[in-house]
């Protein structure tokens, strides 16, 4: 059966991949970062930040796979949870700027610009690191819980659910675009200076954020694998394949869907909170409808329902994006659209599916010899 110790159940290749990743991200890169900047093997600030950013995208893809791949609930609004997590931590980052803004004021520049005299109520306490971390978890989690409760209780399913998640992220984007909302309008938050008193642009901070991203990626992957292999995970699969059968078996599927949905949103929010200090900006465009659709494409490209696949998908697509936007900036959206069509038609199970098909074919020809 699929029960048994988690690490054992990964198989030999899985164990090697996991050990290799841990060594590279948590040991080798940090050690190389101790070399002098002139050394050939020194990973630049740009590189570690870029990789850290991609790992945040990977966590977001993983979060989407928990609901889409495992449970069959396609969210096209996960960008909203990601951005909300980012905004919550961004509030702390804005307050840590202190008096070092352009206007040398107690308030962030955008508030001075709006001629506000004090912080709106929801900024209370955001100067405290721990409170901000709590908000990173609570706000996306609460939004997902309330939204999910009404949607799942009303039995909104399939494409209808996907459409209202698009509406959710679009509505959030419009809200955050308004200056009066208190999150910096269309400019969002930027010009961060420090975290816990340490310079945010320093090499050590870059390395720390990189390692945190890698650690979170590793932890959330192991946690997700554990969930998927528990009976809870099998119940999610059953919801995906025959929800009414499961209800007539006595399971109230509302609570199962709501819990994985909320867990997924919280994970997306945490990824967003790690993303913002690395890229140095958060603005409402993160909540655009197209952004959330892109996340679904990463998952589809990697192979939905496999948990590992979406990480590969997010990595491959984003590396491709970095290369294309640097060399052929106008081609990116066409490439993305084309990729989605190709994957849907030829690779229904994504990269992971392709790999296992190839392995089977090679195995078969080997057997014939």
């Amino acid at each position: 059966m699929r029960e048994g110790p988690l690490f054992k159940s990964l198989g030999r290749n899985g164990q090697i991949a996991l050990a290799l990743f841990s060594f590279l991200a948590l040991v080798l890169v940090p050690l190389l970062r101790l070399l002098p900047e002139s050394a050939a093997l020194y990973p630049s600030d740009y590189t570690v930040t870029w990789l850290g950013k991609i790992m945040c995208y990977m966590i977001l893809a993983l979060a989407l796979d928990l609901v889409w791949g495992l449970t069959g609930i396609l969210s096209l609004g996960h960008g909203a949870f990601f951005a909300l997590g980012g905004y919550m931590f961004g509030m702390y980052l804005m307050r840590s700027i202190g008096h070092d803004g352009v206007y040398k004021s107690d308030l962030p520049d955008f508030m001075v610009f709006l001629d506000w005299k004090e912080y709106p109520w929801f900024w209370n306490g955001t100067q405290h690191f721990l409170w901000a971390l709590l908000l990173v978890i609570l706000v996306p989690g609460l939004l997902a819980f309330v939204f999910g409760f009404f949607a799942f209780r009303s039995r909104i399913k399939g494409v209808y659910f996907s459409i209202i998640t698009q509406a959710l992220t679009y509505a959030a984007m419009l809200l955050f675009f308004r200056n009066e909302t208190g999150f910096g309008g269309n400019n969002g938050f930027t010009d961060f200076k420090r975290i816990l008193g340490f310079d945010i642009t320093s090499g050590a901070m870059r390395t720390t954020l990189f390692m945190l991203s890698a650690g979170l990626l590793l932890g959330s992957l192991l946690g997700s694998l554990w969930l998927a292999r528990s009976r809870f995970g099998r119940i999610l699969t059953a919801i995906r394949d025959a929800e009414s059968r499961l209800q007539f078996c006595g399971y109230d599927t509302l609570w199962y869907k709501l819990s994985i949905w909320t867990i997924s949103a919280v994970l997306a929010g945490i990824a967003g909170a790690l993303f913002v200090p690395q890229v140095g900006i958060i603005n409402p465009s993160e909540m655009s409808a197209a952004n959330s659709i892109e996340v679904a494409i990463w998952v589809a490209v990697g192979g939905r329902g496999t948990l590992i696949g979406p990480l590969l998908g997010a990595g491959v697509v984003n590396m491709g994006k970095s290369w294309l936007t640097a060399n052929f900036p106008n081609l990116w959206l066409y490439a993305l659209g084309g990729l989605f069509i190709l994957v849907t038609i030829f690779l229904p199970n994504g990269i992971v599916g392709l790999a296992s098909t190839l392995r089977k074919r090679l195995g078969n020809t080997g057997a014939h010899k």
Binding site: S230, F232, R245, L246, Q247, Y251
Partner: protein
């Protein structure tokens, strides 16, 4: 004998069409009742009402004379002991046969339990027993989606038994089965009679004859006739709805 399930003048309409029209049906505890009727008679809607999938506009479905099923959610109804098999065999296609049984076994249904749950030795024995009962021994580790149509029918019946329900509602359980499979199913149902209450909707008259017991004929959302198969076959009104004028 007392009635375990009573449908008390149930009316269900969809956009003005009355799928059930003051349907009155009483099922005794431990009986094996067959329900027949032409397409559109409301047989599946009747099961939808009992299992909480459809709410009646009028009337009450009562379990053990006092529990009003129309006020409960599907999962609650399943938990108090009413199981259902769908017309189209519905199993968890991507899970193995064993896992299908694991999720169906009677037991706690909450999330905390699901996170830590492992099958006990006793439960494993129960799965083995059920797998044997429905003729799927040796297939435990196959993915349910790979089973044949008849095997899926049996898997679903087995999953129903795993819940150990007091009442089993079976919507066309032998559709798509071979004669041999149909005969085995009849034997299984006859062996369950008495310990469980069975309500079987079928079109296969030979199967109904094999089951014996009381037959209810439904037409246009209400009961047309009730009695032994021979009695209802001799009823002019029944002949009329089946053969037309």
């Amino acid at each position: 004998m007392s009635a375990i399930l009573v449908l008390d003048d149930i009316t269900v309409s969809f956009d003005g069409f009355k799928a059930l029209n003051k349907l009155y049906l009483a099922i005794d505890e431990g009986e094996l009742r067959s329900i027949i009727g032409p397409n559109g008679a409301g047989k599946t809607t009747m099961m939808d009402v009992v299992t909480g999938k459809t709410r009646p506009d009028l009337g009450k479905p009562l379990f053990r004379q006092e529990i009003d099923l129309s006020r409960m959610r599907e999962a609650e109804i399943a938990q108090i002991g009413i199981g259902r098999k769908f017309q189209k065999p519905t199993v968890f296609e991507k899970l193995t046969v064993h896992e299908n049984f694991e999720l169906s076994l009677r037991g706690k249904r909450d999330i905390w339990h699901a996170l830590r749950a492992k099958l006990s030795g006793e439960q494993r024995d129960k799965v083995t027993e059920l797998v044997t009962t429905v003729g799927l021994r040796g297939q435990e580790n196959r993915i349910a989606g790979e089973l044949s149509h008849g095997q899926k029918q049996w898997l679903e019946i087995g999953m129903l038994l795993a819940q150990d329900p007091q009442v089993l509602l079976l919507d066309e359980p032998v559709a798509g089965m071979t004669d041999a499979e149909t005969e085995k199913t009849a034997e299984l149902f006859l062996s369950l009679k008495g310990k469980h209450t069975l309500v079987v909707v079928e079109h296969d008259m030979d199967f109904i004859a094999r089951l014996g017991g009381k037959v209810t004929v439904m037409a246009e959302g209400r009961v047309l006739a009730e009695g032994t198969l021979d009695e209802v076959k001799a009823d002019d009104r029944v002949v009329e709805v089946y053969l037309g004028r």
